[in-house]
Amino acid sequence: MADYADIYGKRVKEFTDDPTLTSSYEGQVWYNENSGTLKTLLINEAFSSGANMITARRGAAGSFAGSQSSGLGFGGYTGSNTGLALTEEYNGSGWATGGALNKARYSAGGAGTQTAGLCFGGYSNPNQDTEVEEYNGTSWSEETDLPTAISSFACAVGTQTAALNAGGMPAPRTTTFEYDGSSWTATGALNTARQSGFQGAGTQTAAFAAGGDIGGSPGVSLATEEYDGSSWTSVSNCPPTIAVSAAGSGTQTDAILMKGTNSATYDGTNFTAGPSMANNFISKVGNGATTSTAMAFSGNTSGNPTSYTGTTEEFNRSINTITAAAWASGGAMSTARTGLASAGTKNANVFMGGQLSNAPYGGTGATELYDGSAWTTNPNSNPSTGGNNCGTGTQTAALSWGGYPNVSTTLEFDGSSYTTTGALGTGRELTSNNIGVQTAAIAAGGFVRPGTYPTQTEEYNGSSWTAGPAINTPRYSAAGAGTETAAVISGGIEPGQLNATEEYNGSSWTTVNARPYSAGNAGTSGTQTDSLVYGGNPSGALATTVRYDGTNWATAPNMANTRAMQGSSAAGTSTAALASSASSGSTATEEFTGETTVVVANTLTTS
């Protein structure tokens, strides 16, 4: 039998085990002595789910030249022919609110980046529009109008200072316009007139566009054309699977088109079926100047233009296998409860007291310990049994303070027993949770019966509490995270539901970007610069999850259950969190696992 070197003229490296996998091994073959197999490292193509937009919509536009870590979506349709002015920014983890368009619209053209975006034309009741706006990362400003009112652009690509659009409505059009950042110029016409559902990729000087609606019946074109900066040339037809209402990303020679669950890549000559998408929506918006940064978001169900979505998917072409973040069911508690003190991590947690969620209701001191799979009842209960108490720390070094009604008692928990320590200066319940450790904690705000919401904070040093600087917004049931010298609180009740966010630097509280949703009684995990906030109850509990990076908020995958006044993971992280207290009064818990990236070698087999 001929060996590998005889056939291919190359030798195969031999390793005891797989080497540390980097991109330098892409396409190489080696022999793994331990497994006795030939191995290689291949490029994987796949879509991974991103966070949903804050506002689901169809007919949105996007920053074509953006990326998976800096996308921009604007405008759209949610039932009103006026359209939306809402802008959202994507940071790779979630969407945050951006500056609103000056003119609400849908089916507009989009180009540019998250900090230099371009929106042109579109539809705003009652007609197509000529309005053009530029985005600077914060706000939109009006610029030179399009020469003619157009919506549903067949092709909208490029940057804020070098954009291209072709075709569109009303009526199938062959018109092509270039924008240089200040004015529009008509240029070479399309060979085939298109009116909508025809998207491409590329730049102002090297673009392509495929398929589209050409009017009439059946009205679908498979024609593909390439643009060289002055004229369009017909090339090979596109596959029917992505012919109409697809989104595009990439360049003229390396692009991907995305529609429904289908995708197709284009290399400048041929189309090839791409990986499947999870979300079966059409008219998505493509972002990404290259395929390595491509993403698609929003859209509607085919045949049902009133079914909108905010789903987001990212295209990944890499040696990495990316696994999206998600919540999963955790072990069931013995005692369903709300308004409890908790401490610890996702896999080593303690719940200390609280209020019974079911009859006979009332407070409880029941203490339960979690090992990552099951809860066990601790023989020693929390002596503070009123519920609405607060906590922080770890499973074996926890702190519980306050509670109903106006309790000042503070208790240290060592993993088994409680010890009374210095009392709060002001007895109260529902202060912030999860800031600091057993020997250095903060209690911010709270509820003092019969009904005041102080701005007062207190700091604990391991033996006693002393008054700290006041928070700016009075509230109770704020979500806390961080340390005694680098903390963050968000949301709460005053008595309306709040989204106000404040950071503490050890000496003063500063109001920062507000959380995307208003609610008290949310759970938290993490630090001032990387925390997860989940659930809460504005009017009925929520499953909402968001992540804070110390500056901006972004959406994250939601919990399966709605939850409020829950136990959480004071010592956890933004990628490993625990939540309890389902609104249905059940004992169910959930565990959060953040996004992971791994490189896995492929085993070669004979066939």
Binding site: S329, A332, N521
Partner: protein, 96 residues
């Protein structure tokens, strides 16, 4: 085709739904052990594997209504002091 499958299944705790499940199909929990999952192969398989009893949307809504009504009645029967401690009267839950 309907977007969702509705069913009743008892949450057994750890492993009842996994992160992989959440990535594969839509899943949301409601009162009365009602689960709403995406109408795809993965969602249907999950419901079957968990011993879920499939319901129509109206049947599922009726189960939720009964559970919520019972919770509201229980909350209304609480003393003012008990009410003051809790998040609030359970609100109606409408399946999307």
């Amino acid at each position: 085709m309907a977007h969702f499958i509705y069913g009743v299944a008892q949450n057994t705790g750890k492993g009842f739904f996994t992160a992989e499940d959440r990535r594969a199909f839509f899943l949301r929990s409601y009162p009365a052990n009602v689960w709403m999952v995406g109408n795809n192969v993965d969602g249907a398989m999950w419901m079957a594997e968990k011993g879920g009893v499939e319901k129509t949307k109206s049947e599922a809504q009726a189960l939720i209504d009964a559970e919520v009504t019972a919770a509201q009645t229980a909350w209304d029967a609480k003393s003012d002091e008990e009410k003051a401690m809790t998040p609030g009267r359970p609100t109606d839950v409408i399946l999307p």
